[in-house]
């Protein structure tokens, strides 16, 4: 546990020791604000909720989370520090969890900094705070799921750009699977079980049900399984690399 935290602390230090972290957070906040107010017509709706805010998160995360996670392993592979790390008394799981937690905490910090929006809706009306909390929970889980994908793709290559593109492609797949325009198009020709199956591996249906303020154990289980699966695949990749 101490080892995991030591590794996480180092990774967090890496984020904040360079301007990248601050740039990332600023871009995230700007885009989140832009989509909420300009595209989502936050004020015009006249409803005291954060739906137009959360609605755009999958698309924001599609690019920002792979950007945040792309260097986690590929940088170690490029510099050769993975050799250093894995000759220290560290198990692959400790290293994976340490890195994953650090990045997740970083994303959580970025997400937390959107709190003025919550204050704003609270000032303007009487929002359902439970629903807002659920929205944040869903957003954090979505970021976590995408992050686990990014962590996995960064372990297969020492090139950060390749890692980024792979992660975006996989995340895009996860989004499109359950996105209504896609499922509608598919349902014209595919059998119902296929459409349902496709929708259930997509993140959108699970994300949206959390936005409605429903904490369904199936949705939580979905995100947790994506994360666990990717982290497990990550450990397999790391082991295969050294064999």
């Amino acid at each position: 546990m101490k080892t995991i935290w030591t590794i996480a602390k180092r990774e967090l230090g890496t984020y904040f020791s360079s301007p990248v972290a601050y740039v990332f957070i600023v871009i995230f906040l700007l885009l989140a604000g832009f989509f909420t107010f300009m595209v989502g017509h936050f004020f015009d709706r006249g409803v005291a909720d954060l739906l137009p805010f959360f609605l755009w998160h999958p698309w924001l995360y599609l690019f920002l989370v792979p950007a945040a996670g792309m260097r986690l392993w590929s940088e170690e592979l490029r510099l050769g520090t993975s050799e250093l790390l894995f000759t220290m008394p560290v198990t692959p799981w400790q290293a994976i969890l340490g890195k994953y937690l650090a990045s997740w905490i970083f994303l959580a910090i970025a997400l937390f900094l959107t709190f003025p929006l919550v204050v704003t809706v609270g000032y303007l009306g009487h929002p359902d705070y439970g629903r807002i909390f659920c929205g944040y929970l869903g957003s954090l889980l979505l970021a976590g799921a995408f992050l686990s994908v990014a962590l996995l793709t960064s372990s297969v290559t020492r090139n950060q750009v390749v890692s980024f593109i792979l992660a975006v492609v996989i995340c895009l797949f996860l989004i499109l699977c359950g996105w209504p325009p896609v499922t509608d198009a598919v349902s014209n020709w595919a059998p119902a079980w296929f459409v349902d199956g496709l929708a259930s591996i997509g993140v959108m249906t699970h994300f949206e049900s959390l936005q409605r303020g429903v904490v369904d154990s199936r949705d939580l289980l979905f995100f947790v399984s994506v994360i666990v699966f990717c982290l497990f695949a990550n450990s397999v990749v790391l082991r295969a690399q050294r064999a």
Partner: protein, 355 residues
């Protein structure tokens, strides 16, 4: 058996080789038998084989290193030195064979083994975005050192590796020498019983090389150390024993003196004699039983220089003949053999049959 005997006393090995030229030709792949009876080996490598696909990087390598030993790992590029070291540290799993470090099997108890190993990888990789202090602090914490113990450990290695000047500098702004020493400091931070250093002096200037070599020799007294190098003089300066590895196989294993004795020139005697005519000297030398062959290197009115390839124990006989015939021996030199000759003769493909 001969290797074992001579292992006790480097001086003796030389004398033995003079008396017995066959001794020089004993199998170079002779496995080393540990002579420190009181200590079980800290690093024990048995039948280590490592394949990368169909390519065999390390082929059935067996050796051990005891406490107080500094083992030099020699070999041409791509001979399997780094791969062997990576397998011993547990970074790469072996294809076959067992490795124990301080009594822990690297495959079964990797963490216990790694806790006792300090490892300096080739090219000294470092986290580029950290300061030297931050990096050492991270390494100390990973090794389970916190609070005052961490501070003491960092202070110790900073002093040992001369890092005071760059302590707060970012790692990616360091010169190669400092990068190397930072990585070395990392390997020493938990005061490990076993040190594995992959080319620790690579890229250092001569002064730094000297410092690192001195450090290795000093630490070698109470640790088991393996280090690889291309620089043969380093082996003589710092090692108690050396292994030459070529194409994944151990081709020679012994003390630096033993290895030097394997040189084709080892044991040759160069003698400069005055007050004697050439004919007299040739006849007198020919009469000696210990002379395999000889030739005149230089001939001047005041003295003659001979080069003698001995057959057996030449030196006493030669000196006796000198006294008997009233030679004025001005200079006498017994060739010790040079490591680079040995290295070349063992690892060059055309002479490889000798090994």
């Amino acid at each position: 058996m001969l290797a074992n005997q001579t292992g006790c006393c480097p001086k003796l090995s030389h004398a033995l080789c003079l008396t017995n030229p066959i001794g020089r030709a004993f199998s170079m792949a002779l496995p080393y038998i540990h002579t420190h009876d009181d200590l079980s080996p800290m690093i024990n490598v048995e039948h280590l084989t490592k394949m990368f696909g169909a390519k065999c990087a390390v082929d059935d390598v067996t050796f051990s290193v005891g406490k107080g030993e500094v083992l030099g790992f020699l070999g041409p590029n791509g001979a399997g030195k780094s791969t062997s070291m990576r397998v011993i540290t547990g970074y790469l799993p072996p294809t076959a064979g067992t490795i124990t470090v301080a009594g822990f099997n690297v495959a079964d108890q990797p963490l216990e083994a790694r806790r006792r190993i300090g490892y300096l990888p080739e090219n000294a990789p470092l986290y580029a975005d950290m300061s030297v202090l931050g990096f050492l602090s991270f390494c100390a914490e990973i090794r389970g050192l916190f609070g005052p113990a961490k501070k003491d450990a960092i202070d110790r290695v900073v002093q040992l590796c001369f890092l005071e000047r760059v302590l707060h500098q970012s790692v990616d702004t360091l010169s190669k020498g400092f990068r190397h020493r930072t990585c070395l400091a990392q390997a020493l931070i938990h005061d490990p019983e076993v040190l594995i250093l992959d080319e620790p002096t690579d890229g250092l200037d001569p002064n730094q090389k000297y410092e690192v070599r001195t450090l290795i020799r000093k630490m070698g007294a109470e640790k088991a150390i393996i280090f690889s190098t291309h620089i043969l003089e380093e082996v003589e300066a710092a090692c108690t024993r050396a292994i030459i590895i070529d194409q994944g196989k151990i081709v020679a294993n012994g003390t630096p003196d033993e290895l030097k004795a394997k040189s084709p020139q080892a044991g040759n005697v160069t003698v400069t004699v005055g007050k004697v005519t050439k004919d007299q000297l040739v006849t007198q030398v020919e009469a000696l039983t210990g002379v395999e062959k000889f030739w005149i290197v230089s001939e001047k009115p005041e003295h003659i220089t001979l080069r003698i390839v001995p057959r057996g124990n030449l030196l006493p006989e030669l000196l006796e003949a000198g006294t008997r015939n009233a030679w004025k021996i001005e200079h006498l030199d017994v060739e010790e053999g040079r490591l680079d000759d040995v290295f070349r003769s063992i690892t060059l493909p055309d002479t490889n049959t000798a090994a």
